[in-house]
Symmetry: C2
Subunit: 341 residues, 2 copies
């Protein structure tokens, strides 16, 4: 059988997969941030007419998928699969969105790496000839994540300066097999290993995830022979200010200087004046920044070759309480404007 | 591009995927059940030398994977991917097993349908030429699941007669691309839709999952033109006694009589004298029964053609407390002895 791999572990999509449509929704705080004008919809408030924040998160994902479908005049029944995940226990917003859509559903969990996990799996499904149209989404909501993973926001617990701010946001993407008319394509993917250097502070997730991000970036460069200069932009999911610096340093120690064209979705989404401390995080951070900022930049001709790395911290409140350290994981995809080598 | 689909939604693995190795581990109660002698290892007690049940579940999955690898003299580094999931918040046992293995990891969440979700995705990866050896696993532990999803077992809350008993168990499977020397192959897969007929009783999960199981079984028969008599065995993941009857009835209403060769892993794993009420459940139920009973029956020549359907209930304590009903999902795979049409 044909091998669709490059080097040790990088996947090559010989028939490039089209990102045919995409949409983004964020909360009010993210809407006031530096990328605010790029998102398709900004929630009027954190509840969006629902009785609980969890239901808000579900409604946000449903709305975001419908926006992505509507941009191409697609209906849910046009989709072969729906791949999604989020931060909540038993990924309820994703499963319940799957219920609304009525499309064969694959639930994923990779913390904030979930979106890229879905984009890689969706590309594999399409490249393998198992589907023609695949929707991928991930979301997070500040209040649902904080009360589940840390403290209810009503408690007003003081946050450390290393803590990141969970983004209220969602991104939805429609992948397709026919890339002939596509403007944006996914050409490669790499799946991350679970890396743990022993960080155990749940208020400093960037430091926990940075080694996994660096590992994936280094493996990708080694596999493909590419160098940082081959890309207009290398962007990690949500390491935030602290993790971004650590990641850059770890990659440099392995011989690759990414300092000239590297940034992070958690750094981009908020302005320092918004007092989020170490930046944004959450499944919805990288998803909304990809759909609301990076892909539009490709469409506008400002970016042509992007290496996008989703990063996740694989902890639970139970694992933290039982004294476990926090492993990280990072998955990557190569995204290009059509016609770029 | 070649379409690897049959009918509307069934996936066809034209190059059959080998189940090259598999292993099962269960807890003491399951070891005393009717299938007890078939499992590779029975835990001496519910803690297995660990300080918490959560760590036990992780150790069980690590042990189970090592058993499956050892049967073929494989090492973790021989694996291209590890796909796994479980019931615990943020799928910690699976992620932490991924950390031990050091293999590119894809985290899944489909409640008790997770194993079959992983087997279908693993088969897609292999058929698409993206990997040659893929490990798939799922687990559950009675005490970790009960205290997270219902009540801590120490409380001694009386269980309803419709309640199922979460299995302490794990199954691990090594899928391979070269099926020439394989004795067992996966030939088809079908991904489930999220189906919700409005059941809201978390003490009767079988009834919540049965409509999803029936939907997947009916779609598979329609897509493939197969009939129940084409199989030696049709087996659902863990609907238990009550869900099994509902599923059979729903499938019959659609013109397919599966009564002659249909059973359920949750029915098989315990003897009625073990007082589990409606039978077994949990990600580890279908995983351990597949690895400890069904696949060995195929190897022994007693079964040749099996349609195996993993069933999951997509609820969380939060969704239940917020008044949501319980959607179900079911994924299916066709498993055959090599050489069977």
């Amino acid at each position: 059988m044909q091998s669709n791999r490059v080097g040790e572990q990088t996947l090559n999509f010989f028939s490039p997969v089209a990102i045919a449509s995409f949409a983004s929704i964020v909360g009010p705080k993210e809407g006031k941030g530096p990328l605010g004008t790029g998102f398709d919809y900004v929630l009027p408030d954190n509840l969006y007419g629902q009785k609980s924040w969890e239901k808000t998160e579900q409604k946000m994902m449903e709305h975001c998928l419908n926006l992505a479908l509507a941009k191409k005049n697609y209906l849910p029944k046009d989709l072969d699969f729906f791949l999604a995940g989020d931060l909540l226990n038993q990924i309820i917003p994703s499963s319940f969105t799957g219920r609304s859509l009525g499309v064969p559903f694959l639930g994923l969990y990779g913390a904030c790496s979930t979106l890229v996990e879905g984009l890689v799996l969706g590309s594999i499904i399409i490249n393998g000839g198992f589907g023609k149209k695949v929707a991928v989404s991930s979301s997070s909501h500040h209040e649902t994540a904080e009360r589940q993973l840390r403290y209810p926001t009503e408690m007003g617990v003081q946050r450390t300066m290393t803590a990141q701010w969970t983004v209220t946001g969602c991104g939805a993407f429609i992948l397709e097999d026919n890339a002939d008319n596509a403007q944006i394509i996914i050409t490669q993917g790499i799946i991350g290993k679970v890396i743990d250097l022993g960080q155990a502070n749940a208020m400093d997730m960037g430091a926990a995830m940075a080694p996994a991000a660096a590992d994936t970036i280094i493996r990708y460069f080694k596999d493909t022979g590419r160098i940082p200069e081959d890309f207009d932009l290398i962007v990690t999911g949500d390491l935030g200010n602290i993790g971004r610096i650590l990641c850059q340093e770890l990659v440099l120690q392995n011989g690759y200087d990414i300092s000239k064209n590297y940034t992070d979705c958690g750094v981009l989404i908020y302005d320092p004046s918004q007092d989020t401390h170490a930046g944004g995080s959450g499944c919805g951070c990288s998803a909304s920044v990809l759909a609301g900022y990076i892909l539009p930049q490709i469409l506008a001709g400002k970016l042509r070759n992007v290496f996008f790395i989703g990063t996740g911290a694989l902890l639970s409140p139970t694992s933290a309480q039982q004294g476990e350290t926090i492993p990280g994981i990072a998955h990557g995809i190569g995204i290009q404007a059509k016609g770029v080598d």
